[in-house]
């Protein structure tokens, strides 16, 4: 039986769950944490829709993320449970994956956990990603993610963070 070293990444994703309170002023700096085209496009205009937002069901989500259909269903269900529109949740998940440098790792499972309302009006989503990687890779990834995190000009030590856990899954 193959032992899989997995890791859970807990990150805070700025969400648009409460669009009335999350103004452009608050939202844009959070999104600009991600130094990629999706974020750039998004901060320029909220009506720009990256292709990922067009995802509508678990099959397409699964296909896009390399997950099986069951995992896609779980994502949809979890996003619905915390009141986050699935399309928005998936898009933000993508942005964070890019940001953290996770894109070359197969995601086995994604668990949105809680949403947290912060004083300044932004809503944050606490997410756990399970990624298949051996122990050495987990250590490398931890370092890579740390480097990516701190590169941001909007680095806020206490608010944007992640934790890597090494959990043996058999």
């Amino acid at each position: 039986m193959l032992a899989i070293a997995s890791l859970a990444v807990i990150g805070y994703l700025a969400t648009g769950a409460d669009t009335k309170r999350v103004s452009g002023d608050v939202y844009a700096p959070k999104i600009s944490l991600v130094e990629n085209n999706i974020a750039k496009d998004y901060s320029q205009t909220k009506t720009h829709i990256p292709s990922l937002v067009a995802l509508t069901n678990s099959t397409t989500i699964s296909k896009a993320r390399g997950l099986d259909n069951k995992a896609g269903d779980e994502i949809l269900k979890a996003f619905n449970e915390i009141g986050l529109p699935p399309k928005e949740g998936i898009r933000l998940l993508e942005i964070n994956k890019d940001f953290l440098g996770l894109n070359s790792y197969p995601v086995k499972k994604i668990e949105p956990i809680t949403s947290i309302d912060l004083e300044e009006g932004a809503t944050y989503l606490n997410v756990r990603l399970y990624i298949e990687a051996d122990f050495e890779k987990v250590l490398e990834l931890d370092y890579l993610m740390t480097k990516n995190l701190v590169k941001s000009t909007e680095y806020i030590p206490e608010k944007i963070s992640f934790t890597v856990y090494n959990e043996e899954i058999v």
Binding site: F135, L139, D142, Y143, T146, K147, L149, V150, K151, Y155, P157, N166
Partner: protein, 137 residues
């Protein structure tokens, strides 16, 4: 006088060919202090003092990481200094388990993680030194 490198050598060499939990724990503790002192070197070289109001309610270690997370006097090294702080803080959690939580099992995995964090803290210090030198020349 000893150098952070001496703690690093101790951390790497302590387990040897007869690994035991107490050696893993001691190795993690030494690795943390090697990383802590590498951070100290960086702070003394590039960081500004924290205002007294920010020192309040913070221990020496927390103050050090806070210093590294703030903009330094050489912007080009800021990213490396932040990495050092983040990595050392993670290593600190392992060290607390190693030194205080005797009920937890500490294995080669935690020890290897600690060595990895320590190595990467040092790598970031070396990167900052390289950037600093190339900026001056």
């Amino acid at each position: 006088m000893i150098e952070p490198r001496d703690f690093e050598d101790q951390a790497r060499g302590i387990v040897g060919t007869l690994p035991t939990e107490v050696k893993f724990r001691t190795g993690i503790s030494r690795a943390y202090y090697a990383a802590f002192h590498y951070c100290n070197v960086a702070a003394k070289t590039w960081c500004n003092q924290l205002p007294n109001t920010e020192k309040k309610d913070k221990g020496i270690h927390e103050q050090l990481y806070c210093q590294l997370q703030k903009p330094s006097n050489l912007a080009v090294v800021d990213s490396s200094l932040r990495s050092m702080a983040e990595l050392a803080k993670k290593l600190k959690f392992l060290r607390v388990d190693a030194d205080y939580h005797l009920d937890k099992t500490i294995s080669n995995k935690e020890y290897t993680s600690a060595l990895s964090y320590m190595s990467n803290v040092k790598k970031e210090l070396e990167e900052a030194q390289r950037l600093s030198t190339s900026t001056q020349s």
